[in-house]
Amino acid sequence: MAYLKSPISLWLKFALLLVTLLSQCWVCTGDTAQAQLTRDHQLLNSKMPPGIVSQRKLMGNARLVGHTQPVRIIAPDGSRVAIVAGGGTTEANKSRVTVGVQAGLLYRFRVDFVDIETPRTVYPSVEIVDRLYTPKGLENQFPVPVVITENDLAQASGGKMVTKVIYLERSESTVPRRPIETDQPWFDVRGGEDPLHVASSLGRPLAILRIGSRVPTAGELAGPSAFDSSRPVVLPDPVERLPSQTIKLTDQTR
């Protein structure tokens, strides 16, 4: 048994002791490390000033650079939507308008509506935080729908600030609903929750809509960057496609 007193046996004992200590450390620190990994920390939130989230996303996503994303502003029937850019507003004659916007910029619109016999005007802003990857040639047929409901306008005209995050649903977890353009499902987050974070947990956030009640002054609108907004590209509306006609199948196979 002389070899047990040799230096190599000491090395073996030392190695066994080291392995034991490391395993104990791993067991003891496992729960703590797991708790740290599950802690949620979000760099972006919807309380940031308009346009900041979009700029941060632009810096982190190379596919947003130079991409023009079609967005369709859908206001309630009877209202009118105009584009605020270049020191003025475009002619407002429709309740829906399709535009192409880019990440990193802030776009502002003017919505004229009637709130219980009182004509009112709000200036909602839209910024995009992500894009769609539509098949080539169909980009204009699948814009991101930014739906402004009557409730949104009523809340904004009542002096409140409405922040709405439009997100892309996951196809596997969607529930059936009516295929109506103005019927975009939405819900209010609970107190303390951020709609951008909630939308991230449910899908992929694409755009942030903010509606307040403040009306810009004439000086603010007259500048080249009216009310801190950029000029979008006006796009044609998506084409309504007719259902195809059914033809009975006959035995044409061999």
Binding site: I8, K47, M48, P49, I52, L58, A62, L64, V65, G66, A85, G86, Q102, G104, L105, L132, Y133, T134, P135, K136, F142, K160, M161, V162, T163, V165, I166, Y167, L168, R170, S171, V175, P176, P179, I180, Q184, P185, W186, D188, V189, D194, P195, A199, L202, G203, R204, S230, R231, V233, R241, P243, S244, Q245, T246, I247, L249, D251, Q252, T253, R254
Partner: protein
């Protein structure tokens, strides 16, 4: 003992111990297998087809295309039937009753209902079925074949239908279906040598994003008081952030000053003056029996022509942003797969005749649209072909629709006599099932068509 010898002996002893521990499960499995083999009756290979007395059916189906069996085939099957009947008396009960007395499924077992089961099927010989899905068979031979799950990436903007997703689909001897997920489209069939095989289709991708919104309403006065907006602005330092970040200037998009696209569109309308307005009407119907989107030789005749490569590939273009290697593949047994976007100049596949026992049911699926909005209808066409040299029976096609697709009632049709059954599935949609009445002769195929509404 010297130090070197001691260290060497320690290493050698460790290696021996590790090897023994690794081989222990294998040894145990072998022992168990040897013990169980005493009660298991192994299947034997059926007699080989004699090419002189039983000529192969021709490509166009003129010879051997009838559903009745020829005299040589009857002798061939009766010989096998005698051996199967002998096995049927054994306690373990092997083999399907593939030469039963059913007239509708001559030569194959009768269908006795079906059920969907969770989990994996028990792979025991008493079922009388050997679940060897086609996709798995092919994957083992050549990794370039389709249904390799690692290559089928997914995007949240698409609706997928087809292929064998997640768990592997298996069908046992009692017609129980295991491992069926939503989106799965497959066909299962019985072979004359007693196998019940599963053959998944290709996957169809339809671009159809859907959107929702999350809202928060703040009262500005309360928000300003509680969150101290003024201090937040100083802490945020937005101006300093822009100035210090050098990369922001390189990626910053520039707003457009003019809108040339609108001006072009107006000019184009003035030039047409309504004379050619009839040309912009969308095609609503065609006089041919096949719809324009399914006017492929692959769908019409079950043959692939290289001249249709571009059109077949069009349906896959959209998804290539996310998945580079995906493409519609046309393949046959032991034949190198032809990827339609390949540069190999193969002109045409006429037919595939094999003389071994492996059976292949090719299931190809196409959709009328590559993109659809909620509320629009999409028409699906499934073409199935028997690529093997023998008849296959109890051919059953199943499409488990996803939650985004709603079956349009009364739209299902099949070119062959079939029984159509639809049942509710877990995804609040339907599972469509076609049970083809008659066995499918070699080289024969059929077409299934149905409509779904995107929701």
């Amino acid at each position: 003992m010297t130090k070197t010898n001691f260290a060497t002996s320690c290493i050698a002893a460790s290696l021996v111990l590790i090897t023994a521990l690794n081989s222990l499960p294998t040894l145990v499995a072998q022992v168990l297998d040897d013990q169980s083999s005493a009660n298991v009756i192994r299947l034997q290979t059926l007699p080989t087809r004699d090419a002189k007395t039983m000529p192969m059916p021709s490509v166009d189906g003129k010879k051997g295309s009838k559903s009745e069996l020829s005299q040589a085939e009857k002798e061939f099957f009766n010989d096998a039937s005698a051996r199967v009947a002998a096995r049927r008396d054994t306690p373990s009960g092997v083999y399907l009753d593939f030469l039963g007395d059913g007239k509708a499924n001559q030569g194959f077992a009768k269908r006795t209902g079906f059920a969907f089961r969770d989990g994996e099927m028990e792979n025991k010989i008493s079922n009388g079925v050997f679940p060897v899905p086609l996709g798995r068979q092919l994957r083992q031979k050549d990794p370039r074949y389709r249904h390799n799950k690692k290559r089928l990436t997914r995007s949240d903007e698409y609706i997928y239908d087809g292929s064998d997703r997640e768990a592997r689909v298996q069908v046992d001897g009692d017609w129980n279906i295991y491992g069926m997920d939503t989106e799965d489209t497959f066909g299962h069939f019985d072979t004359l040598d007693g196998k019940r095989l599963v053959s998944p289709s290709n996957r169809v991708d339809i671009y159809s994003p859907r959107f929702s919104a999350v809202r928060r309403v703040d009262n500005l006065q309360k928000a300003e008081y509680s969150s101290q907006v003024t201090q937040m602005k100083r802490k945020e330092g937005t101006v300093l952030s822009r100035a210090s970040d050098a990369s922001s200037s390189t990626k910053q998009n520039v707003a457009v000053d003019t809108n040339e696209a609108t001006l072009k569109a107006v000019g184009f309308r003035d030039q047409t003056r309504g004379v050619l307005s009839d040309n912009v009407l969308h095609l609503r119907a065609s006089r041919e029996a096949f719809q324009p989107y399914e006017n492929f030789e692959l769908i019409r005749w079950g043959k692939h022509s290289n001249s249709e490569t571009a059109r077949l590939e069009a349906g896959m273009q959209a998804a290539k942003v996310w998945q580079d290697n995906l493409g519609l593949q046309v393949f046959g047994k032991k034949i190198q797969p032809i990827i339609v976007n390949d540069t190999v100049a193969l002109q045409q596949i006429v037919t595939i005749e094999t003389d071994d026992d492996n059976a292949i049911l090719r299931v190809t699926k196409v959709a009328s649209r590559i993109a659809a909005r909620p509320g629009e209808e999409v028409e699906f066409t499934i073409r199935f072909d028997n690529l093997s040299a023998r008849k296959v029976g109890n051919v059953t096609l199943i499409d488990n629709l996803t939650n985004r697709l709603q079956y349009v009632k009364g739209s299902a049709e099949c070119s062959l006599d079939a029984k159509f059954i639809n049942t509710d599935n877990d995804a609040t949609s339907l599972t469509l099932r076609w049970e083809i009445d008659k066995p499918l002769a070699p080289g024969k195929g059929g077409v299934i068509r149905f409509k779904c509404r995107v929701r």
